[in-house]
Amino acid sequence: MADPEKPLTADEIAKLEIKNDETVSKKYDRQIRLWGLHGQERLHNAHICLLGAGPVGTETIKNLVLPGIGKFSVIDGEKVTNRDLGNNFFVEVSSVGKSRAEETGRLLHELNGFVEKGGFIDQDPNHLVNNNDEFVRDYDVIIANNLPDATLVKLGEQCSKWNKKLVVIKTNGLLGLVRLFANEHRVLESKPDGEKWDLRIQTPWPELQAYIDSFDLDSMLADLQKFSPEFTHVPFTVLLSKLITQWKATHDGKCPETEEDKQAFLQSIISLGKSYSISDNFREAKNYKYLTWVPYEIPYETQEIFDDEKCNNINEKSSKFWLLARAVRDFYQNEGNGHLPLAGNLPDITAKPDAYTTMQRIFREKAEKDWQSVKSHLQTLLKSVNKSPDDIRDEDIAFFCKHTSVMKVFRFSPVQNEYDSTKINKEAIEWWDENGKWYLAFRAAGRFQAEHGRLPGDRNDDPQADFENLKKVAVQLQEELELDVEEVGLDDYLKEFCRFGGCQIHNTCAFVGGVASQEVIKLVTKQWHPVDNTYIYNGITGTSAFFAV
């Protein structure tokens, strides 16, 4: 720990303030451990635009400036007032009276000297959206902060047309909402919590079979009497492979099917282990025994990619992703024999180090062989669309192949569709759940705003005086969505919205700002799965809802 009595010298400070490989690696160490340098590079190349500098927007940007997005811009037409001092961290007392875009932009930018300043523009975002259909082209991601329905519809159309990512954020009292849009968002690095391993226990290839055969269990057991630890370090994959071969030989070539079968198979593991059946490798064999009978299946996300129109129709405009997807599909349908190319990575398995490294080598070699097959399909495809067969690098092919069992393509429904009751995905709205009701309350409040020029309850006298009018538009909305108004029972939710009156409570804004920034990071780094497409946060109960409208 550094000594608080010895602050850094001016020289040391100056060195740390320069953005270079070393300072980036040190400053961003804790996050690079999550998304890697390649993820960090993608952040460095992103330009984010914030429309509306109220607190939920500035909190979102804060969480993007700190980890080092490339550039950000702020567009807002308001002047800073005293009220901003009570909910927005990125204004100070001296900001009052000045442009909110400029003040928040300035105070956000000073968080991280590695980030480039975009434009801090004193303009009403509604005015910008209505008068410049192409402004989104300057940015990669647009963040729409508590904008009215009509603006969101137009903005949605612009983002669809110019292929930009849109993140809509709304906050009212203790309720918050995040809604994402992208035309087509392709993820290879899904990084699911429970990693899936492709161990081919049911279908070993010849080299793997030879490796399995090299373990002579009988002679090991004899040796064990001389205290050799070989037997208790036979990899569980080898144990299961040997047992399933035996099983199939006595069961008509079939894997365990009934519950009885599975119990019997478990018994065979224990019998094989004899008095060593509680050692780590046998314990692992028991835990993973299902790998011997669960049939190999490709995930539905991968099947969706194979069935996609863009995978079928390969042409000059096909992107790298779809060319690779098609090459993998061709492999899958031919040499792959219904298997995806082997990813090649192994979990940690109880084994002797040399047995483990040998197994790693065998898996790596098989993976490389599969990638080579995929590569030749790819080269055929590239030639067919008049491109050079070397257009896609080996490392990109390998990277793609490693992720074929976790890849996913997202096609978000357009934001403008949500505001058209004939196009919104009605079935997705969870109206029976309290947080689905809060979604309806947000939508009703938006309609009220369109009619009255302000949010319900945003008045200094009795806020509940807006309830009747709010209820009117809410009933109309629910009828359009084919919902039974009595069954939904929205009155209390609408009354609470009147109580809130559109107030911006910092904690709600900080929570939603955290979620929104996390989604932007996922969209920009192309890692993990983003919310598809709406997330509701309920700060009263701490619960959430998510659905795809």
């Binding site: 550094a2 608080p4 602050p7 850094l8 400070i13 740390l16 040190k26 961003y28 160490d29 804790r30 996050q31 451990r33 999550l34 909190e59 804060k62 969480n63 700190l66 980890p67 080092g68 007032t81 005293n82 009220r83 001092l85 009570g86 961290f89 100070e92 007392v93 899904s190 919590d193 109880t350 180090p353 040399d354 806020p463 009147c498 109580r499 009156g501 107030c503 911006q504 409570i505 910092h506 904690n507 709600t508 900080a510 929570f511 700002g513 955290g514 979620v515 920034s517 996390q518 990071i521 993990w528 799965h529 919310v531 946060y537 700060g539 009263i540 109960t541 619960t543 959430s544 998510f546």
Partner: protein, 449 residues
């Protein structure tokens, strides 16, 4: 800056207006915010990843009298999320820098910094707060704070129950990568931290010695070998490496590589070594923002009653989609810190006291906190005993007086039916009741006894 007119307009919509979702005891009134700003005292424990966010959140929802405790100084790698600090602050005290920043930025905020350990403060200090918000990162520190706050709780004057005014609410936050949790703890009304300590994620990189020494397969195994074997072999058992010292990390990395080479393993890098040695948990601004906001939100609700509070444990996950999950955990009546029921144990009547104590020490379940247990008789025990203590470990005069008991059988010491005794860990104040029963006698044994 007494008041900038209109500053708190948004918060006042919560405190001066009611609605169907307000807490049943809520009374909308200007007095609510006035009390929050003038009388209320909140303690923020930690000024790091969660702490910076917490201070901002508390200040911007109306709290003014905020104390913050943190014993750390600022590191360059903190700057990707601990946004109250700048490059020029590296090396300085976190609590001091954080307090200064908030006081300068938020009109009305009066944050007081304490560059110290939480253990440096006494009961009177902790009792002076209306709510405690915790952004600590170590399990032990959380346990200490929990123990302290639960220890402050007292029965109501008529002894009919616990006096809620003495049970200071503690809002606990924790994060790791894309995941986090928020809990509302109020001694005897909700589970305390210790009630649920088994749920806490275990420490990573705890490999058995036979793995890392003899059958390593992963670079992490080799690094642990360097830490647990190569280093003490080279420097003796008393010299510990310093995770913040680049030379030490380099030494460990090289020792790990040497070990890895013996087994044909690859992948030991400086970064990986640093990660394992310092048990680095990846950390990002967005998750810290989410969890801190949830914590500050709860602190606000608990004191204003504007809405019901979280009941009582929220888990957050942001990597696959986004979701929160709220669980209403129940109190653990046998909790070592807040529980009122005795811990049960069944033992062999013919075993010795030494056997029993060994059993307690080796236990990894309910008794895992006891490494040097002190056993004594409850005050209201009518039996005539030689001394109030059954056994005291070495270190005091009572050890000599009780060491002879170690050879005696449990039946001899406790009587035929077993007994209820007190157990505590030497050096701690907390006493727990232990109900020791013996295994049922077989018919044969009954006859012969």
């Amino acid at each position: 800056m007494a008041g900038l007119e209109g500053q708190w307009e948004d918060v006042r919509r919560l405190t001066e207006r009611s609605g169907p979702f307000a807490h049943k005891d809520f009374e909308p009134s200007p007095m609510c915010l006035k009390w929050l700003q003038e009388e209320c005292r909140v303690l923020c424990v930690g000024a790091g990843g969660l702490g910076c966010e917490l201070l901002k959140d508390l200040a911007l929802v109306g709290f003014r009298n905020i104390d913050v405790i943190d014993m750390d100084t600022i590191d360059y790698s903190n700057l990707n999320r601990q946004f109250l600090f700048r490059v020029a602050d590296v090396g300085k005290s976190k609590s001091v820098a954080a307090a200064a920043f908030i006081n300068k930025r938020v009109a009305g905020a009066k944050v007081v910094a304490h560059h110290a350990r939480i253990e440096a403060f006494d009961d009177k200090f902790y009792q002076s707060f209306h709510v405690v918000v915790s952004g600590l990162d170590s399990v032990n520190a959380r346990k200490w704070l929990n123990s302290k706050l639960v220890g402050l709780s007292a029965l109501s004057p008529d002894e009919s129950g616990w006096d809620p005014m003495t049970c200071i609410p503690c809002i606990n936050g924790g994060t790791e990568g894309w995941k986090g949790e928020t809990r509302v703890i109020q001694a005897h009304f909700t589970p305390c931290f210790e009630c649920l300590v088994d749920l806490f994620p275990k420490e990573p990189f705890n490999f058995p010695m036979c793995t890392y020494a003899h059958t390593p397969r992963q670079p992490e195994h080799c690094i642990v070998f360097a830490m647990e074997k190569a280093w003490p072999d080279a420097f003796g058992p008393d010299k510990k490496w310093d995770g913040d010292n680049e030379k030490d990390i380099t030494w460990l990395m090289n020792a790990a590589i040497e070990h890895a080479n013996k087994f044909g393993l690859q992948g030991v890098t400086y970064k990986l070594t640093q990660g394992v040695v310092k048990r680095i948990i990846p950390a990002i601004a967005s998750t810290n923002a989410v969890i801190s906001a949830a914590c500050a939100n709860e602190a606000f609700k608990v004191l204003t009653f504007c809405h019901n509070r979280l009941d009582n444990f929220m888990n957050y996950s942001g990597n696959g989609g986004c979701n929160t999950n709220v669980v209403s955990n129940a109190l653990n009546s046998q909790c070592l810190v807040c529980g009122c029921e005795p811990l049960d144990v069944i033992f062999d009547r013919d075993a010795t006291l030494q056997d029993f104590i060994d059993h307690i020490i080796k236990d990894t379940g309910s008794f895992s906190s006891f490494k040097n247990p002190v056993l004594s008789w409850p005050e209201d025990d009518e039996d005539d005993h030689d001394s109030p203590y059954i056994y005291v470990p070495p270190g005091t005069i009572w050890h000599k007086k009780t060491v002879g008991n170690l050879e005696k059988t449990m039946k001899e010491l406790l009587g035929d039916k077993g007994a209820i005794v007190l157990i505590k860990e030497q050096g701690n104040l907390k006493l727990n009741l232990l109900s020791i029963k013996f295994t049922e006698l077989t018919a044969e044994e009954q006859e012969s006894s």
